[in-house]
Point group: D2
């Protein structure tokens, strides 16, 4: 049995999601590959790193990623470090011939992400940009139905990714609201997923965009516990909206926000076509709504498909139908599919090129918002 | 008991809705006014007019509206004629001192609608612009909750009005697709309601808009029964999208379309604020979703309020709770409230000024789309 | 054009529903019959009766139903009086050759309802037992799908009718809680509809039942405004549950209650068969859920059919699709269909025989509950 | 750090669920205990066992459970073997001082389950009966709300557990349809969960039951691939219905079935009380519906609570709110809580006593169905 030896860089939210995925991908999917969790690397005390490694199953710890990307006993580098570090790590890892799974967004700017793409191409290493939602069986079924012609010519897409963790204006600053560190606000954090989901499900090409990025709460307390203390400026967008004209005539309408009270992880996409429609919402991740207008209107209606049957993409998970999977499981499938593509030398998407494409679109939206005009892609 | 004598001009879709409303407003709402259905006027054979009048309860018929607006035995003119006739009829009716209920849009262009407003002001007659959705108890409850501060400062609105009766590209031309007659496509037909619903529910003022109007199927058979015969050009928008910055910093995202396969009369608005959120969808007209974030997150969730209780606006209809009302009933309430405002000499909205405001916004969207830039209001 | 002259006996909740139906049936449905609202009869002051008559459109008023059933200028007697009066009125009306629409339940006991059936048969008059839900287009579609074989052999039905207006134990006595007047509690009030809906939709025959009737709040204040004053005994069931074995092997599970906090008019039926399932809920009266298991499980899911298309039973109402109808409209359709059956001399259901069948089943449930054993039908 | 050494007996559906739980409980929940997966035992070839052990993480394999329960290096025996073996294994394990987690139902009959309870009591070992749904955060929240008085006095419960994997009468026999092996059909398989969920959420005591067990398809092909070949008799119930009177006056209505086309794992419970109602459905496992009737009816409606917040039971899982968990995760929490109770010597439920209580109720239902009468508990 082949073996893939992994090093993970980063141990926050995404570090946990990656750790579980490497730990359990072979177990859940029956992937005939031994995945060895060689090394965890992050900027923290050795005590904290060791505790994390013990909990999640990493064999050893490092604090300097430069060393990690050179280790002979590592085949795959999984990048879950802060965004601004992605580029440097990925380029070094590529130079050292490592396969790379890098969290989205690839980088905080388009030029950087293109350099990263250049590097992996040159090195000939396998690469994945972590648009994990592609591996939710329900979203994968949406794509499958479009590709099979069940929706017909697409008229429009309607896409919203809404969360609500910023609605309290007295909550203090966090790194995600600082443009220098985060690159952008809801645009890079949430719309990045919306743009990739559109490309994945519909196959449409973005022709031009017109954006409106707004900061709804312009200043926040530096310290949440001292709301009357000094404020800090929010330098990213709180809400990102944009209109799209696609090649071929379809149109799109997008919004992402972290101010939609009551929406927790409302990552949604609706696709309307000549023959049918699809509605997907991650808050009900085990379902896909499908309206088929081919039979008589007498029986027409949105079908709520419980996407957990063996016949569904990725077998709809690993349980009998009706026994759904959870958020962590998309990462499990992503890792399994990426490693399968390495071992079997098969094409894999989403790769760094998909990451660059998304970045191009987001950068156009940002420019459009600044210039208050449409931008061609 | 006071009496209000009504003449109706127009006998298509809206003519039916108006007829029922005048026939039953006093019955359903207990309004202590005698509503007399004096006269029906439309361009049709006398046989057809008489049949319509007999069925819906009009006392007499006319074919020339010029005569009708001058009749001494009529107090109120209800305009449900084609849009391009609204202006002339309304101005003449006002000159003759008649109260006016005019279907939306007031007119096919802003200048016309302003003239109409001028005319009713000068004549001092009562006036109503037929944004009937305001009289759906669930939408009225949405406004009430906003006005009571239950939503707090508004961050954004997300508004979509989607239908699907144009998705088949082989369906033939209809008057609604001809700019000369209809004025515009989904913009005037559907977004007009969205814009008014926003003003009604939130009280927000539109500051600037950026629009994208697109015709998805550019030509259609002149005759549906002969799809291979000669085509006619579609001269209106099939889909209307626009972004909005409101006074005070809130943002909005709008789409209306008649190409959303599976959406029948999906007239929706979502309002997100600091203290809560509202979601309304006419396809479930007896409900309002309300998320209140003031109690503990332990118990927080979108509440599905069945808006049919006596405590609700317009008593939630006229039945015990859980026994919902239908599409026709908003018109019943609209007519009852308008007539009540006449008889009791009380303020009434939506009036022609509301009609003009909507028109201003829609015209800005249209201009924005043509110029591909933001337009200030 | 033919004319049907109607007298209504009763002017409470059902009296209002009937009045609207006679007033508007021809208007909404295009029925080519003149319906004349001759006479209203109820036990009340002449002032109150005249006010009601003026509001709803009755030409004259009476207080003695014995006179009304003998009037030569009346063709149809509509009985919306208290249940205990149904029998006497119906029998007299039949003797006088009047057609009869009688509210459900036909009578407070089976023997009485059989006498009524006997009387209308003997007199040869047309008769309708007011199971109005049959005329909800969505429930009629459910039946249509079953009859067309889309559900296949039926395995079971799961039926619940839940309301919540009795949940407060401090609310005072009302006539519906007094067995002498009301006959029974939720059993006759709500389960009567459930039993008829089952017969209507599925065509199944009840073979044996096993019931459990319980009074949850056994005493209530005689006066709601004086909760510490003297109590009165509740002598009817607050909740009625029963299990059913049908001829042919299907099974059923039933509950009706007025203690289901949050359920307003939750009149529901689910039918599961070899080829598909149906779920209907009056709180969403314009929809029917249909699961079709004939295509691939890949695309299988409950379809939410918006039953407002022209192709649907009763054209799904009278508006373009997506513009739903309300509670009152089932009565409109019921009256239109009943009058059509009179004028065109066609079969009509639900008739008094359907009323008797229901009564038989409910009486068996009651007996079963008292005897704590199964009862054969 | 303490260590708990586990042996698993059984490697089918439940064996997989248990394996994942032991592998990941400490990782997901931060439980400060080392869980060692010592040994897998099942009746299979050593090759198959080794493959399973390698995939899921067991250190060694055995085929004879008698040896396993005596091993000195094992602290906890996890029983996921066929039901008819539970008793013997559990009793031997208890004798050897092992803690025991046994899948539900404890045994195929009440007498057996009582012996098992006797054995663990006598041995003083910790015990868990695997009613895993108790560890779904949303169901645990339901209990919490009841215990906090948010529902008030309970009026009734309405409980249904529906699946659809048996609807095709041509599908062949399986062990679950053979009474000798499975003990019962949907009653033990599904209603067992319903009964336990009722006890867990409401705390109500069952006073008497009246059941109806029916076999809908009485014979099936011995071989699915040869539907015209010889048939075998189905000896268990396909559907189990029962009515309940609880101590204190509340009533209940239950159905479980594997013939409800379209219902995949529709494990549901509704609780109606004086102050509110709860509706739970495992097909939407990350949600709980809660109707609170204490505030004004103006704002009353069923709230859809996304039970994934830190404040929820078991922190609503391990992700930020809106990122749900899946079927496997209830087992993870169950195992973590059971091991925590061992290590911290704290009370734990559901234990074998809960298993016996359920069995008592199910046995009464079965007897009631056979005798066609009510049975006291």
């Amino acid at each position: 049995m082949k073996e893939i030896r992994v090093a993970l860089i980063g141990h926050q939210f995404m570090g946990v999601a990656h750790s579980n995925a490497y730990r359990n991908a072979a177990m859940w999917t029956g992937l005939p590959v031994k995945i060895t969790m060689k090394c965890l690397c992050a900027k923290d005390t050795m005590d904290n790193l060791n505790a994390f490694a013990a909990r999640y199953g990493w064999e050893s710890c490092e604090t300097d990623w430069h060393k990690v990307v050179k280790r002979d006993d590592v085949d795959l580098i999984s990048i879950a470090a802060p965004n601004f570090l992605h580029k440097e790590i990925a380029i070094e890892a590529a130079k050292n011939g490592k396969h790379i799974l890098c969290e989205k967004p690839l980088a905080n700017d388009l030029a950087d992400s293109k350099e990263m793409l250049e590097a992996v191409k040159k090195a000939g290493v396998r690469n994945c940009c972590g648009f994990s939602y592609r591996f939710t069986p329900s979203l994968a079924l949406a794509r499958q139905l479009v590709m099979e012609g069940r929706i017909g010519k697409i008229y429009h897409v309607f896409v919203r990714y809404a969360q609500d963790w910023l609605t309290n204006p007295n909550d203090g600053m966090v790194w995600r609201l600082n443009k220098k560190i985060a690159g952008s606000g809801s645009l890079g954090d949430l719309s990045a997923h919306s743009v990739d989901a559109t490309r994945f499900v519909t196959g449409l090409s973005f022709k031009e965009v017109c954006g409106n990025l707004q900061t709804l709460v312009k200043e926040r307390p530096m310290d949440s516990n001292n709301p009357n203390g000094p404020n800090d400026k929010v330098t990213v967008d709180d809400v990102a909206q944009f209109l799209v004209n696609f090649e071929g005539g379809a149109v799109g309408c997008y919004e992402s926000t972290r101010f939609a009270t009551g929406r927790k992880n409302y990552n949604t996409i609706e696709v309307n076509g000549e023959k049918g429609s699809l509605v997907w919402n991650f808050e009900d991740q085990n379902y896909l709504l499908f309206y088929d207008n081919q039979p008589s209107p007498k029986e027409a209606g949105f079908k709520k498909i419980n996407v957990t049957h063996d016949i569904h993409p990725y077998k709809g998970g690993w349980w009998p139908q009706g026994h759904g999977i959870g958020y962590a499981d998309s990462f499990v499938i992503e890792v399994a599919e990426f490693i399968r593509s390495i071992v079997e030398d098969k094409p894999f998407n989403p790769d760094f090129e998909d990451g660059v494409k998304s970045q191009e679109i987001l950068e156009a939206v940002e420019k459009s918002s600044a210039n208050r005009t449409w931008i061609q892609l």
